[in-house]
């Protein structure tokens, strides 16, 4: 539908529904009148009606009771035990921080020298995306084919997210034969990752890193079924030996059960996009799951890989490409989210989008925004003569296919730039570039 036609339809629709002669003043005046007679100040002049007074008193009473209950739940051992028993789907911990477990501390102690960026050339590399044949013997093929194979293996019909609603593209299907569960990882052109995990029966037990402080869990309803939502995660900031609860982390986890099957949705992204796909939208998606076997195969839809040159022409940005990238990484594709004035150059160590990643983002924005980092510990560095912000942190929990590790953001020549470097938990610190490595990549942009 053309823009003008669309505007005209909206206009006609509201003008018919709410005609020009609509006059609400008598009603508004009436609502204000009772207090207008006696009071002197504006607030006193507009007293509440008797019913509203009652409602207000009841609300105040309810608030007081809620506060008392919160105090009871938070500060008394009995209360904490009660709160834990009420939380059904997440496992809780009383600790907001704890030492990094030995198995990970040992990997940290073997801190290797940071990877050395090596010269690369991406300009001539073209998309490696291609269609795969459905080959049941090899267990891979089109998305539809893989879903059907997994349904046979897992013994239940697989539910998927409504892709159209949030421009999601299936990135990876990750079955877990031990828990008879499946995790589907999605991504969208805004570097947002969403996961949907599902299985029969009860939730599998959480490991230490998946647990949450009780006050981080909130009860919700998913299409009438009980659910819980958590924002935040445990992180280990670079240089620290403690895992620390980060309540403002750009991560949301939603768990619910329909009585037969349990589900967990996770939303992970760079802090910049924290407001995107908020709690309400996450719940909306959870309430609109679709059967995977009836889903159109949209794996080649949004965010199709392109060459860097094509991305440049599509985005209208003079895209800058690094001459240096971390050792072992290869340019995979460029993404151009519609209308975002943003180009993402995505590198990985494998042909498929793997758990390690490296991304250079060029974007037309209005100056770099340190708020993205939330409560993260920011190191100020310089890229050439330009101030830049560097953040390093390690996510040991959650179900993200990536563990956010390092991020560098700066502005130059009217563009904002970001470099994100992800590694896996298994890599420990070995793949870390440190500020000097990321800055070297940044300064090699041409």
């Amino acid at each position: 539908v053309e823009q003008q036609t669309f505007k005209k339809i909206l206009q006609m629709h509201v003008e018919t529904a709410i005609p020009d002669d609509h006059d609400p003043w008598p009603i508004i005046h009436g609502r204000l009148m009772p207090g207008h007679q006696t009071a002197a100040g504006a607030e006193e002049r507009v007293p509440l009606s008797r019913n509203r007074k009652t409602v207000k008193r009841l609300s105040t009473l309810a608030l007081c009771i809620s506060l008392l209950l919160l105090v009871f739940l938070a500060w008394t051992p009995t209360g904490r035990a009660l709160a834990r028993s009420v939380i059904r789907f997440f496992q809780t911990t009383d600790q907001n921080s704890y030492p990094v477990p030995a198995e990970f501390a040992s990997s940290a102690s073997q801190l290797a020298e940071p990877s050395t960026p090596v010269p690369t050339s991406v300009a001539a590399i073209v998309s490696s995306a291609g269609e795969m044949e459905c080959d049941p013997d090899r267990g891979q093929g089109t998305l539809m084919c893989e879903i059907r194979l997994l349904e046979d293996q897992l013994g239940f019909p697989i539910q998927v997210l409504p892709l159209q609603a949030a421009e999601l593209v299936v990135e990876k299907l990750d079955p877990d034969p031990n828990s008879q569960s499946l995790t589907i990882y999605y991504t969208n052109p805004y570097s947002l990752s969403v996961s949907l995990r599902q299985g029969l029966g009860d939730f599998p037990p959480d490991d230490t890193f998946d647990r949450v402080p009780p006050d981080g869990v909130r009860a919700v309803r998913i299409a009438g079924s009980p659910g819980e939502i958590v924002r935040g995660m445990f992180v280990q900031w670079a240089g620290e030996d403690q895992m620390e609860w980060w309540p403002s982390a750009p991560i949301l986890r939603l768990r619910w059960s329909d009585g037969q099957r349990w589900y967990e949705m996770g939303r992970f992204g760079t802090p910049e996009f924290s407001p995107v796909l908020d709690e309400a939208e996450l719940i909306w998606m959870a309430e609109h799951l679709e059967l995977g076997s009836s889903m159109a195969d949209s794996s080649e839809d949004a965010g199709s890989p392109t060459t860097a040159q094509l991305a440049e022409s599509q985005a209208g940005i003079d895209v800058k490409i690094p001459v240096l990238v971390p050792d072992g990484f290869h340019f995979r594709y460029a993404q151009v989210p519609d209308e975002a004035g943003r180009v993402m150059l995505v590198y990985s160590t494998h042909a498929d989008p793997g758990p390690r990643g490296f991304m250079v983002i060029n974007e037309t924005r209005e100056g770099s925004d340190a708020r993205w980092f939330g409560t993260a510990k920011v190191t100020h560095v310089t890229v050439g003569q330009t101030d830049a912000s560097y953040v390093a942190g390690y996510n040991r929990g959650g179900e993200s296919p990536y563990s956010p590790a390092e991020l560098l953001a700066w502005s130059a020549d009217g563009l904002d730039f970001e470099i994100l470097h992800f590694t896996t938990a298994e890599d420990g610190y070995n793949m870390r570039l440190r500020p000097e490595g990321v800055v070297a990549v940044a300064e090699s942009l041409r």
Binding site: V1, Q3, F6, I18, P24, I28, H29, F273, D338, E339
Partner: protein, 202 residues
Amino acid sequence: MNETTAIERLRDGHLDALELLVRRYCLRGVRAAYLIVGDRSLAEDVVQTKFVELAVKIRQFDASREFSPWFLRSVVNAAINAAKRGSRIVSLEDVQELRLPAMDSWLARIEPGPEIALENKEMHEDVMRALELLTPMQRAAIICRYYLELDAQEMTESLDISRSSVKWRLHSARRRLRALLRRYAPSPADAGSRPPMRSDEE
């Protein structure tokens, strides 16, 4: 009496000053709220409540700010909350029920006869139905952009979200609308001659 004077008089306790603000902004506010909540009574209640709150809390209003964007922002946010509270679970299967006549032929005829008028009516209904199928935030983004005609910066302020989020919400809303109304899209041959509903002005 101008807007600034009206606000000053309202601060001094003269309730009649509110009438000017109501008469100037209520209709636009109710119409915007109606497009977001989809219910006239609810939209009227949202806007009336905002005016009552304005009268009660006028001392909290920063007089150095422009009234219109501030008021529309509060109306849009109240409408989003009202729509979320009263949101109906709309089955995605409903999408299949949209009637989808060819838009090209409709646009080609200048003076529609009774049949064309019926097609127009159906397209009108389908567009509004597609709008209903968006999430409240997506709907609000579309209404701010195409009905209130706010630019990206104004939308950032109105919806109280970052510029990137505004772009994302608009993008996802447009994309979904395009998918829901895809059969109205111009044919490939016409694609170059008419602007589709997309990024445009930003």
